[in-house]
């Protein structure tokens, strides 16, 4: 009967690139052979038809239909039955062109399933999509003089956070209606965004963001810091709007801005609909399919998935709620069947707005305790593996109150934040700095856990009981073959089968980057892979920093060595003492501005003999550079050369000091000192390649030699080298300081810990070996 009543009908649908929308398109194509579809798709960069092909028809939901037909038949059927039109529901008139308007004007049914389902959207974004969208849509229909049967997908959670029965009735008709002026909400949300944007740009805010960027990245250069502070500002505004959405929703008795904006949308549509017949379908939490197109079909990461994976990974040590709490879940195919059933049945004769709740809680509740038990059992049998190839044991949940869980999580996070703060100022490198990255990662994980508990916890403790009598009645009214084929009765679900055999396996398959088996690799599998990429023959160029990347020394060390080379013991002691007293100030200057530091420091070479230094630099090469070099790093440079890559050293160290490294590199970019009458003046001829200048030098170099930086590799050790590392496609953090370690971990960069040769002598003070008087130069 369903197929017949929809035969010849033209059905418009929004939100078809989403989970529910895709399933709906598939089912209509497969099971309602004689209808045609008009899909309203936001064109994006590729345009609506391309998105239809790539993002909808390529989905594995269509495999079943595709396999029952030949590829050609499938394609021609889609061609014949689907019209993709560019539309943006957030814009007045839906941004339709004439063709789109004509197509829409002809439609018999309009299923509106587009929504921003994320629970933590900024308020204005949620309002724009979820409230302004439907308003635009209804107004456009009026504008076109069209009166298709409008079926709006809402959510069961529009009932708010109250307890007890939630009936299938309009909100205004219910006993708990809260009067809200939705027009005012649209306006205030817009204003709130403007205010937030303004506030983020005050002098104080700008200073704060800049300071925070600096704290995170250190002396990373103007551009990097600018990008970072803008990022922080953007994030700050977003967070403010998210928080605003949540508090407004809480104030109005909703769990979040999603439910709130959906509720307002219902009111708005009812108010504005005029003679457009309207039905509302309110699903609860939509999860993977029960049977259609195949059991366990899912698209994207849904609501419960992060929680499930978080559980499997041992991330969510506990979860609020009660064991008897109900997880009102509904498989996607049951919702799709309800939508199609409502469409086939047509609008109510009485011109009333009908409401259908596609929810399981009232007739076939799925309890929290069951979920936990089966999930635990599932992960015991199918564990997720950690990075060390150890299976992770699922945690035992005690279902404490939401407050308690949140308190614990916040306490843990504040501890980690303190540790993080300490780590970031500690002068540690390499493996020890990796601890900072660990802390950062754990903090991020905790943040995720807090997010899950904050958002999803409310759904779990929500004790409203969503009635579904209308859906059951609709189902009962169908002929038996449709009843079987368009299953919308939640009582059909066996939760154990659904959870253990259908949903959890599909979540694991859909979740990317989840290790469901030991990798079997020994040692750093990922690092090995990255190393392979870095050394791949197609790389044109490998750029290297010197200090702490290739050798464990710095400009102060080489100066100290050269300065003490020809001194007697008394002079040496005085020089070392003097240098030590200046060390703190120099370090401060270095941290603030490395270029200024070098300029200041290189003054020390004023009046030094060019010939003498060149002579001494020969010994310095062995006694300082080679002795303190990292053999693995030197090997890496040579590996790059062996692979046919061009190698370049970009350093702030002086040219005569690094001259002996020439055989390792095709080119060395290093500053030179001015010479007058065979003596140095202590002034640099060019600005040293530090910070952004370093990236710039590399870009210039690549340009001159016609090399593609998009394929290049760069090695460096500190956040001041961020511009250099960001300039290439394959950055390698070598013995990173804590800040760079965190950045590298977050961005998935290769991190190398190169060490000096084991057993080598390492001096505490960088002074030259003592020479007897007769052998000293003046």
């Amino acid at each position: 009967m369903i197929a017949e009543s929809l035969a010849g009908k033209r059905i418009a649908i929004t939100g078809t690139t989403g989970f529910l929308g895709t399933a709906l398109v598939e089912r209509l194509l497969r099971s309602v052979p004689d209808c045609t579809l008009v899909l309203l798709i936001r064109p994006g960069r590729r345009g609506a038809p391309a998105r239809l092909q790539r993002e909808i028809l390529k989905n594995d939901a269509f495999d079943r239909l595709r396999n029952s037909l030949s590829d050609d038949t499938f394609d021609s059927m889609c061609q014949r039955r689907i019209l993709a039109i560019a539309a943006d529901i957030t814009k007045p008139g839906l941004d339709l062109d004439d063709e789109g308007r004509a197509a829409l004007a002809d439609c018999d049914v309009f299923i509106h399933s587009a929504a921003s389902v994320s629970f933590d959207n900024p308020l204005d974004v949620a309002i724009n999509t979820n409230l302004v969208g439907p308003v635009n849509l209804v107004e456009t229909l009026h504008d076109l003089n069209a009166t298709p049967h409008l079926i709006a997908v809402s959510t069961a959670y529009v009932a708010g956070t109250r307890k007890g029965r939630a009936a299938e009735e309009l909100l205004q008709a219910g006993a708990y209606a809260v009067p809200i002026d939705w027009r005012n909400e649209i306006e205030t949300a817009r204003r709130a965004r403007l205010h937030a944007e303004d506030r983020s740009r005050t002098t104080k805010s700008s200073d704060d963001y800049r300071a925070e960027a600096k704290r995170e990245l250190g002396a990373a250069g103007t551009t990097a810091l600018a990008i970072k502070s803008e990022q922080l500002r953007d994030r700050g505004v977003r967070k403010e709007m998210v928080d605003l959405g949540l508090s407004r929703a809480h104030a109005l008795g909703f769990s979040d801005s999603y439910a709130m904006t959906k509720a307002m949308a219902e009111s708005a549509m009812v108010e504005l609909r005029g003679d457009v017949p309207l039905s509302i379908v309110r699903p609860s939490i939509i999860e993977s399919s029960w049977a259609e197109p195949f059991p366990g079909w899912i698209r994207g990461f849904r609501m419960a998935e992060p929680v499930i994976i978080g559980f499997g990974r041992g991330l969510l040590k506990d979860f609020p709620g009660s064991p008897e709490g109900v997880l009102d879940t509904i498989p996607v195919d049951l919702v799709v069947a309800t939508l199609i059933g409502v469409a086939a049945a047509g609008p109510s004769d009485a011109d009333e707005v009908e409401v259908f709740q596609s929810a399981s809680g009232a007739v076939n509740p799925f309890r929290m305790a069951q979920f936990h038990a089966w999930t635990t059992e599932f992960f015991r049998n199918n564990p997720i593996y950690d990075e060390y190839d150890q299976p992770i044991a699922p945690p035992r949940w005690t279902f404490p109150s939401a407050d308690k869980v949140t308190r614990q999580l916040y306490r843990a996070r504040s501890g980690l934040e303190k540790a993080d703060g300490v780590m970031r100022v500690l002068p540690v490198r390499g493996k020890r700095a990796a601890l900072a990255a660990d802390i950062d990662e754990r903090r991020e994980n905790l943040d995720k856990a807090i997010g899950y508990v904050d958002l999803y916890g409310k759904y779990v403790v929500c004790e409203a009981e969503y009635q579904c009598d209308n859906v059951l009645a609709l189902h009962a009214s169908l002929p038996p073959e449709d009843q079987a084929s368009f299953q919308m009765d939640p009582r059909v679900i066996d939760w154990r089968t659904y959870a253990y055999d259908i949903h959890l396996p599909s979540v694991l398959t859909a979740g990317r980057g989840i290790k469901t088996a030991p990798s079997g690799r020994r040692g750093g599998g990922r690092a090995e892979r990255l190393r392979g990429q870095v050394l791949a023959p197609e790389r044109p160029l490998a750029a290297f920093d010197l200090e702490n990347t290739l050798i464990a020394s710095n400009v102060v060390g080489s100066w100290g060595w050269l300065a003490t080379r020809n001194l007697n013991r008394g002079q040496r002691a005085r020089l070392v003492l003097k240098a030590l007293t200046e060390a703190v100030g120099l370090q401060r200057l270095d941290r603030r501005d490395r270029v200024a530091f070098l300029r200041h420091f290189y003054r020390r070479y004023d009046n030094a003999s060019v010939e003498q230094l060149e002579h001494d630099a020969g010994e310095l090469f062995s006694d300082l550079l080679v002795k303190n070099s990292f053999p693995e790093a030197i090997r890496r440079v040579r590996d790059h050369r062996a692979a046919g890559h061009r190698t370049v050293l970009i350093t702030g160290a002086l040219d005569f000091i690094v001259k002996n490294l020439e055989p390792l590199f095709d080119d060395i970019i290093a500053p030179s000192l001015e010479q007058v009458d065979g003596r140095y003046t202590g002034r640099m001829l060019t600005a040293p390649p530090i910070g952004e200048m370093r990236a710039e030098a590399l870009r210039q170099y690549a340009l001159e030699h016609d090399l593609n930086l998009q394929e290049a590799v760069a090695y460096a050790d500190s956040t001041s080298d961020l511009p250099l590392l960001e300039a290439v496609a394959f950055p390698v953090a070598v013995n990173p300081d804590t800040k760079l370690a965190v950045v590298a971990r977050r961005r998935g960069w290769l991190v190398e810990n190169f060490e000096p040769a084991p057993g080598g002598e390492h001096k505490i003070l960088p002074v030259a070996p003592y020479l007897p008087r007769a052998r000293r130069s003046a």
């Binding site: 006694d623 080679v626 030197i634 057993g759």
Partner: protein, 535 residues
């Protein structure tokens, strides 16, 4: 009246019985005292240091004036000639000797004679071949400050550079096709005086010049696995390695290069008769209470020292060697005579081979003076040198077990041994087979630009050197059924393809898999140096 010095006692073979005290094993920068199984173990002891020549300068002058198979040196010196004095590098003697070094004595006398003859074109060259350059301190130690200050500042005293294309020449090929390469200055000189100190019988003779003044192109013809498998390295009459050097010597002679060879030998007074180390030169059952106390104190002291400090203590030790002979003149005749003197000090007869050879490896090999004995050098010291301290046949039977004792830390001198680090990290994990290594890696290591740069401008051994060290052990690796290192770093020992053991007893236990439960054992009580005449 002058007291007659007591006649030094010769070396001996001790049969271990139940009354034998624990035996000293050198163990890097430390020692172990080990009880060897009674009834089936023997210990080969070196002879006591021979009495040195009392007037070395007089003996040297005497020898130069009365050379073997050549006219007296003064008759070869004339005004306007090019004279080149070449001397053995830092690898000899081991450990370095107290000042004045024999090389200094000889060079000073040769320079006196040259000055008398009005010679003013003199170069003094350290015969490095592929060894690292000597530092100024080391050069001063070898030739003395007077010679150094007179020649080095004007560039007339220097380390040879085997990778300088302008400084090396090819002299031709031997009858068997081995190329001969030599320092150009030596070839162009009217006379080359080679100043040698002979520690082991492998050195001297044509090896001094054919190897010592050559570069990779000449050296590769005998420093390879196939040659070494056919060489008893300490017996030049039974060594393909020496045959090839001698053939290269023929080419040198034929090319008209005039070599005046000066070979000297020293006694084995390594640790002296004074100080805590002197106990190492005594036989254990003769240790006095005072010896035992000083040994214990030394052990304890070393144990609490950090690695680097301990290494410095040992590396700073200079041996009070005494010169036992000097002979000069024609290369081969001089060498034969020098070897005779060496044998007088080192050779000890022992009957028959054992199932197991044990050796305690000390802190020093020819390639880590003022440096670090890295794992590859540990291998080479044991299998390349000590194993080869025999005449006729090895101390251990074919298929027997070699047990060496050394901590074998994974430590490298970053300046001296850069290519060793890469060899250890890249080559050994791939293969330990000498042939495969040669085939796959030799060219790469020998011709590597960076290693070449470090050899020429810094103080690095040539890139190919670690491979040569590995080849040096081929004979022993081929001969032995199993090689065990006691007390070594497990990773290092395994990577080299050997078996690690914690104690000597464990090692003997492991060895029983190969040689059965009641094997015979010979312990090479070395250093001071002892060479076995296995009959």
């Amino acid at each position: 009246m002058e007291l007659q010095k007591p006649t030094p006692r010769p070396g001996l073979v001790l049969e271990v019985d139940r009354s034998t005290p624990p035996i000293l094993f050198h163990h890097g920068e430390g020692f172990r005292l080990e009880s060897l199984p009674a009834g089936r173990s023997r210990v080969l002891y070196p002879g006591e240091p021979l009495n040195p020549i009392e007037d070395p300068d007089g003996a040297i002058r005497e020898s130069l004036l009365n050379p073997i198979g050549e006219d007296p040196l003064p008759s070869k010196l004339f005004a306007g000639m090019k004279l080149t004095i070449v001397f053995d590098d830092i690898s000899l003697p081991l450990p370095p000797m107290r000042r004045p070094d024999i090389r200094q004595r000889i060079i000073e006398i040769v320079l006196d004679l040259a000055a008398e003859a009005g010679v003013d074109d003199v170069h003094i060259i350290a015969a490095l071949a592929l060894h690292r350059r000597m530092t100024e301190d080391e050069l001063r130690h070898a030739v003395g400050d007077r010679v150094y200050d007179a020649f080095a500042p004007s560039g007339l005293l220097y380390n040879m550079d085997a990778e300088d294309p302008d400084e090396m020449v090819m002299l031709g090929e031997t009858s068997s096709g081995e190329e001969v390469q030599m320092v150009k200055r030596a070839v162009e000189s009217d006379l080359v005086v080679y100043v040698n100190i002979n520690m082991v019988s492998m050195n001297g003779g044509w090896k001094s010049t054919a190897t010592g003044l050559s570069g990779y192109k000449g050296i590769r013809h005998h420093h390879n696995v196939d040659t070494l498998l056919k060489s008893s390295l300490m017996d030049h009459t039974d060594s393909e390695f020496h045959n090839r050097n001698w053939r290269q010597g023929d080419v040198i002679k034929a090319a008209g290069v005039k070599i005046f060879q000066v070979e000297t030998t020293v006694n084995n007074n390594v640790f002296g008769t004074q100080g805590p180390m002197s106990v190492l030169q005594k036989r254990e059952w003769e240790w006095s209470a005072r010896d035992r106390a000083s040994f214990l104190a030394m052990q304890k002291g070393l144990q609490v020292m950090p690695n680097k400090a301990r290494r410095r203590v040992f590396q700073n030790h200079l041996a009070p060697y005494g010169m036992t002979s000097v002979q000069s003149g024609e290369v081969e005749a001089v060498h034969d005579k020098a070897v005779g003197h060496m044998m007088e000090q080192q050779l000890v007869q022992i009957e028959g081979q054992a199932d197991i050879l044990t050796m305690g490896l000390p802190y020093l090999s020819p390639y880590n003076v003022n440096s670090i004995l890295n794992p590859i050098l540990v291998m080479c010291l044991g299998l390349g040198y000590y194993f080869n301290m025999y005449r006729n046949k090895p101390l251990v039977r074919e298929g027997g077990v070699i047990i060496m004792s050394h901590p074998t830390p994974i430590e490298f001198h970053p300046v001296h041994h850069p290519s060793y680090i890469d060899f250890f990290e890249q080559v050994l994990p791939d293969t330990t087979d000498g042939h495969k290594i040669a085939h796959k890696y030799e060219k790469q290591f020998a011709e590597d630009e960076w290693y070449r740069h470090l050899y020429r401008t810094s103080y690095a051994y040539h890139g190919v050197h670690p491979l040569y060290m590995w080849y040096w052990g081929s004979n022993a690796m081929n001969h032995a059924g199993r090689i065990i290192i006691v007390g070594g770093n497990v990773t290092a020992v395994r990577r080299m393809g050997f078996t690690p053991a914690t104690t000597l007893n464990d090692a003997l236990e492991i060895a029983s898999d190969v040689v059965g439960p009641q094997p015979t054992i010979t312990h090479l009580h070395n250093p001071p140096l002892v060479m076995a005449d296995v009959v």
